[in-house]
């Protein structure tokens, strides 16, 4: 534990933050501008992981292990979410024979 923290602390905190922000922004842009639902799901995962990275870095700099434990929780939830998301995707493919998000526009008044 001590070694990992100190290994993490070899790189300055700003770099982690910048990397996270970059990853998060890439994910966000992907969600907003791509139409392929698979890509959107992957971008959501990307945003998740950027946050995970940031939490880990902060935890190491604070010498607080609870942040790292929290990351595991996020990963488990993400795994469950992926399972649901992918099954929705499968149903979508079966029903409209496409994965274009803009085809899912029937949910309106």
């Amino acid at each position: 534990m001590k070694d990992i923290s100190s290994a993490i602390q070899l790189i300055p905190l700003e770099h982690y933050i910048l990397l996270s922000v970059a990853l998060f922004s890439i994910g966000l842009m992907g969600v907003l501008f791509r139409r392929n639902t698979i890509i959107i799901l992957m971008c959501i995962e990307l945003m998740f992981n950027s946050v995970n990275l940031l939490v880990t870095a902060f935890a190491a700099y604070h010498s607080d292990p609870s942040g790292q434990v929290f990351v595991f929780f996020i990963m488990i939830v993400a795994a469950a979410e992926v399972a649901v998301g992918l099954s929705i995707l499968v149903m979508m493919k079966r029903n409209v024979d496409s994965v274009d998000i803009n085809l899912l526009n029937r949910l309106k008044w």
């Binding site: 907003l32 998000i101 899912l104 029937r106 309106k108 008044w109």
Partner: protein, 636 residues
């Protein structure tokens, strides 16, 4: 005071049978064959009658005055505790026997009379519901139970008057009856509320026990009795609320016989007789009842002189006879009023059923100017109608004589002027009844192309039974003058408090004989005049629309009372309603309500653009929102 009497609990069966009949004929009416509804309904009322007779003997053999049968605890709120209970005493038994006895005869008659009607089953359902309500009314052991029945008969009366609802005039008559009754009911329920506030109870026995300790003529007791009187005036068709009863003739004739002669209109009389202890404490109210009764008796009799519709004549005579009952009540002769109620139920039901038989034979014609010569064609109807006419005119030894004579002699005991006025009313009654009788049965047949025929047995047999009752009903109560011992009055003695003592002595038997002979001579004279006018000279009442003298015009137009009510109440009310509708509702309320709806709908049109179902847009909106939120937080 009230012990347990074996088998008295059968009382619940009395109203249960008509209720059952109502449910069967009402709910399963469509599955019944044409005649079955009537047979079931009649049988149910007849079963009730049998149970009532059984109860009569049960109570008699027990030697007790009254019994209360509590079915269940009805209302229990705080310290108010009202059971659903029946009071079986001599008064309610009398009423039960009249209601179910006359009622079952009328039901049987209706099987024949309503035979061709397509809604015959709902007719019988409503008749049974009516009988059920009437039984609740007379059997209830507290004012609230009485009130339920009171409202029930009002409802059934409305339904049955408007039974042929395709005719708008009949609907109008039904509404009129309902509204007139409602005015009375308002007074009645206020009276009950005041009773509850005064005595903390609505039960007869508790109220009467407490009231007997009160002073005579107290303001509260006077107010209570006046309010109850308003209800009785509405239900029993007295001035000023009588106008609904003649119009109620729009209903089928058996309805007129059952509701508007024999039972429902007697509810007011019953209620006052039941509350006799309260009324004895309020001499002012009693005097008002006397005045109302006497005025009604005479005014209605005068109007009856000029009516040409057979049912209208009978309707006004009902109003007039109810006036006599009120007169008796006002004089404190409660038992005499109930006795007249009973005999009146016999002969008036008979008169109406006879009229129904005539109308049936004439193919729906109700104008007595177009009848005539029916004596030979309809012998049974003729004979029974004659019996009823003699009875209502008060000719001895028919039933009406005994009951009317009691009221007249009570009036004489009080005041000679009262007696003279009441006797005048009796003579008027005699005249218009014989006018009707001669015009219908004597002379030539005046309606060309009609072939009157005697009614079927199912209609004539009830007529015959009622005829026998009308002839001999008076023997229930033979006054001591004729060697009798007033059985009926003594029978009611326990249930109805005795008349108030006015300080006048009983009239001597020689005076009484003199009075009887006097009225008899006058009656025969009147019958002679009617015979000379309508049989010998064969004068027909004038056709409508001919010029008349002022006096007869006033009578023909029923003293313009309907028109006065129209101008006094209906016109202002309907113009006020029109004002509310045209100005307040359309100009003020509608725009407000519409505006609220319109605004909501516009807002919806605006915001629905956000919900287009486009996922990318939702993502974008979400991110934009979060960004805005962050900016907002950072700038603070």
């Amino acid at each position: 005071m009230v012990g347990t009497i074996p088998n008295i609990n059968l009382a619940w069966l009395v109203p249960a049978f008509p209720l059952m009949g109502f449910l069967i004929t009402g709910l399963a009416g469509k599955h019944l064959k044409h005649n079955q509804g009537g047979i079931i309904a009649s049988a149910m009322i007849f079963f009730s009658f049998i149970v009532s007779v059984v109860l009569f003997f049960v109570l008699r053999s027990s030697g007790q005055e009254a019994a209360t049968v509590t079915l269940f605890n009805w209302i229990a709120v705080g310290n108010m505790n009202i059971p659903f209970a029946f009071l079986i005493d001599h008064l309610s038994l009398t009423m039960m026997l009249v209601v179910t006895g006359v009622g079952s005869l009328i039901h049987v008659y209706s099987i024949g009379y309503m035979h061709d009607d397509e809604r015959v089953n709902s007719f019988f359902a409503q008749m049974n519901l009516f009988t059920f309500s009437m039984l609740l009314l007379v059997m209830g052991a507290n004012y609230l139970g009485l009130f339920i029945g009171w409202e029930g008969v009002g409802l059934c009366s409305y339904l049955l008057i408007g039974f042929w609802f395709k005719n708008p005039a009949f609907n109008y008559a039904a509404r009129k009856a309902f509204i007139m009754n409602r005015i009375g009911d308002l007074g009645f329920i206020l009276g009950i509320i005041l009773l509850f506030f005064t005595f903390k109870s609505v039960s007869f026995s508790e109220i009467f026990a407490q009231a007997s300790l009160m002073h005579t003529g107290g303001p509260i007791i006077t107010l209570i009795t006046l309010l109850l009187l308003v209800g009785a005036v509405g239900k029993s068709a007295q001035i000023p609320l009588y106008t609904w009863l003649p119009d109620a003739m729009a209903g089928p004739t058996p309805v007129s016989a059952l509701i508007h002669a024999a039972t429902m209109v007697t509810a007011g009389i019953y209620m006052i007789a039941r509350s006799s202890i309260l009324y004895n404490l309020a001499p002012i109210t009693l005097n008002m009842i006397t005045a109302i009764g006497l005025t009604t008796a005479i005014v209605a009799a005068i109007i009856g002189l000029r009516q040409n519709d057979i049912k209208k004549v009978l309707a006004y005579s009902t109003v007039s006879q109810l006036g006599y009952m009120f007169l008796a009540l006002g004089l404190g002769a409660y038992s005499s009023a109930v006795f007249h109620l009973t005999t009146h139920a016999f002969f008036k039901a008979l008169l109406f059923l006879g009229a129904g038989s005539i109308i049936h034979a004439m193919g729906g014609e109700q104008d007595i100017r177009k009848m005539g010569g029916l004596r030979k064609k309809m012998p049974v109807t003729y004979l029974t109608f004659l019996a009823a006419t003699l009875a209502i005119s008060g000719i001895p030894p028919f039933s009406g004589f005994f009951s009317k004579d009691m009221i007249l002699s009570k009036a004489f005991e009080n005041n000679v002027i009262l007696y003279i006025l009441a006797l005048g009313g009796v003579l008027l009654t005699c005249f218009y009844m014989f006018r009707l009788f001669y015009l219908v049965f004597f002379g030539e047949q005046r309606l060309a192309g009609s072939h009157p025929h005697e009614s079927p047995k199912v209609m004539t047999i009830p007529l015959i039974i009622l005829g026998i009752l009308s002839v001999f009903g008076g023997f229930l109560n033979i006054p001591s003058l004729f060697g009798g011992n007033l059985n009926f009055i003594n029978f009611l003695q326990g249930a109805v408090s005795s008349s108030r003592s006015l300080g006048t002595e009983e009239i001597s038997s020689t005076t009484e004989i003199g009075l009887v002979i006097l009225s008899l001579v006058l009656l025969i004279l009147v019958i002679g005049i009617a015979y000379r006018t309508y049989v010998r000279k064969a004068i027909l009442p004038a056709e409508d629309g001919l010029p008349m003298s002022i006096w007869s015009r006033i009578i023909t137009n029923k003293f313009y009372i309907d028109k006065t009510y129209m101008i006094l109440f209906e016109k202002p009310y309907s113009s006020f309603s029109n004002f509310l509708f045209n100005k307040v509702e359309t100009k003020v309320l509608n725009p407000i309500v519409d505006g609220i709806g319109e605004a909501t709908s516009r807002m919806g049109t605006l915001t629905r653009k956000l919900q287009r179902g486009n996922m990318s847009f939702y993502f974008f909106a979400m991110v934009a929102g979060i960004l805005l939120f962050i900016v907002f937080i950072l700038t603070i």
